[in-house]
């Protein structure tokens, strides 16, 4: 299908995470918590009710000592473009109240907490478990409310939230550019909190459509792959690895299949 709306300036913000550099330190998680007013509870060990916009999975090659290898996979929202190239992420079309939407200017999937009424259909739809439900009212003990970032509204109980690619940072950068009568944002003007927090520089963020952005080149690297690509979710988060077993773990393969050599058999949607 031809895309009429595909005007010249359209951005597709995306991320490349180098798993060969990711040490699993968790700085990206903490950076995200503090940037995005993510709440916390006394017990966060049940990872299925713990709000994390970026979670880190630790996987192993399951080989016995001392051939064992491990790898960390940090997972923000994959900002899926979805079936049909653009605008049909698994989660967006299912939301009955348009509380989550695909932004054609940036490719970012929004989440509007004041609109969401907590049906959780989007969570069922997202294969990456990127969406988190506010099972509890958020509480900031002692004087911790004072550190909340005013650019990101705290969420109320009963709604879904997820990684926004730090959309407020985009808004701020765009506003600044507008005031300075500029049309384009420089690569470093809009960076996500997790990319900035990563102490090893494993996370690169930028416009996947822009040849001058680092992500453009990285995503085309032979080491690049995406998680669950075969589902046709079309994520804008790419990963780099030099390890074959990691690449294989990133998707589902029948025994005879080789990662990177699979043609997608799913029809495109509209």
């Amino acid at each position: 299908m031809k895309e009429k709306n595909d005007y010249k300036q359209a951005k597709r913000y995306g991320m490349v995470i180098d798993l060969d550099k990711c040490t699993g330190c968790g700085a990206c998680m903490v950076g995200c918590y503090s940037e995005n007013n993510v709440p916390f509870k006394a017990d966060e060990t049940n990872k299925l009710d713990s709000i994390n916009w970026i979670r880190i999975f630790k996987i192993t090659n399951d080989k016995p000592y001392p051939e064992t290898e491990t790898c960390y996979i940090p997972m923000p929202c994959m900002q899926c473009d979805g079936v049909g190239k653009h605008g049909h992420p698994p989660c967006v079309s299912v939301c009955p109240a348009v509380a989550t939407d695909y932004d054609y200017d940036t490719g970012i999937i929004s989440q509007i907490y004041t609109r969401c009424f907590g049906c959780r259909y989007c969570m069922a739809a997202c294969p990456y478990h990127a969406r988190k439900f506010n099972w509890w009212d958020p509480v900031w003990p002692a004087d911790m409310e004072k550190y909340l970032n005013p650019k990101v509204s705290p969420r109320m109980r009963g709604v879904v939230e997820k990684c926004s690619f730090c959309f407020h940072r985009y808004q701020q950068a765009r506003d600044k550019a507008y005031l300075e009568k500029r049309e384009e944002l420089a690569e470093n003007e809009y960076q996500t909190a997790c990319a900035e927090a990563c102490p090893t520089g494993a996370i690169t963020f930028g416009d996947l459509n822009n040849k001058n952005h680092a992500v453009y080149k990285l995503k085309n690297s032979p080491k690049a792959f995406r998680l669950l690509e075969r589902l046709n979710t079309n994520p804008k988060v790419y990963y780099l690895t030099s390890k074959k077993w990691v690449r294989r773990a990133g998707d589902n393969y029948l025994t005879h299949e080789e990662p990177g050599k699979i043609k997608n058999n799913m029809k495109e949607h509209h």
Partner: protein, 412 residues
Amino acid sequence: MNETPLIPAGVKRCSKWQFSLWMAAATAVLLWGVYAMYLIWYKGLNQTNMNDAYGFALWIWADLAVIALGGGAFFSGFLTYIINKNELKNIINLAVVIGFICYSSALLILAIDVGQPLRAWFIFWHANVHSMLTEVAFCLSCYFAVLTIEFIPLILENPRLDKKPFLHHLSHNMHGIMAIFAATGVFLSFFHQGSLGGVAGVLYGRPFAFREHILIWPFTFFLFTWSAAAYGPCFTILVTKITELITRKKLVKDNVIHLFAKISGWMIITYIIAKTIDTIYWAFVTAPGFGFTLMDFYASSTYNIGLLFAEIVICGFIPGLILITKRGRENSFLLMSAIILGVIGVSLNRWVMVLQVMAVPVFSFNEWYTYMPSWQEVATTVLPVAYGIIVISLAHRYLPVFPQEKELNPID
């Protein structure tokens, strides 16, 4: 002034005391559910054992199941008013009452299930037409309105209400146009039963749930409508039989039951053949395209391949075959077995299409997700059962639900 009795003429009902006791028991269960419901509304969904992996759980299953079981209403309406199977007039009242109970319960469950009940109406106001859930919400609400309209004339037939001339005429007129409502109901039901199937079928991120599409609808859309029409009558028959057992009276003539059972049987058989084809296509074409084998989906001890066998063979082909054979449906043991298997079968299908969808890991490195409902979830799920018992008891006591009762149980 001589009061008209509340109880319809010509039928015998149990004593006030007996009835009160029975109602008290049901009400106690109901109140337990109401208390749990209060906790959930007041404290939020943290009262449940749902989590981010199990965002849909017991309630959504209950919702889907009651809607499927309430499918007897639209399908009997279709048969009675559109295909003109007049015998079914003798059971349609019950089907309507069950439908009313099921759909009001479904709406109530949805109101508990969402995280922000006070904003639940955003689904109408900010409707996303692409969402299956939007379709469900609209059709469900409209059909509930239709069922209410279908229920009203029956209520108005209560002897004391019927005495009021306005109500008497209202009831009469409503009967006259009931076919139009029934037709509307059939149309609405076709869509919402289907969209409930679509809810899972469109999830292309969930290989276990996802199905190929015909036009804009996934296969499950059609399978859900079909199965509701097929198995809904089983539930109507089951409730009839249970009522007969409790009241120790025959309420519906065998020929009516047998006709209904026969139609249900043919629907089940055709449905289960379609379901089998769907399963084979999904197992050998859809799933491998995502890198899954069929057995990957059944690799847990809870969700093993036995479940698929149970759904298709034990609760599909077996009841279907029993019901389409004259000797099967006319043997009361076989008939009962078949309708019970049918009710289980459709509930199982809904369970699988909600809970197994959540349980199957999509990442190769994830474990199967497990979930056990909290007591609050159980209580609120039992609530509609108690509510249903209360409504059916009241309806049976005060309304002429079973037109053949008088004839079958003459009072001397």
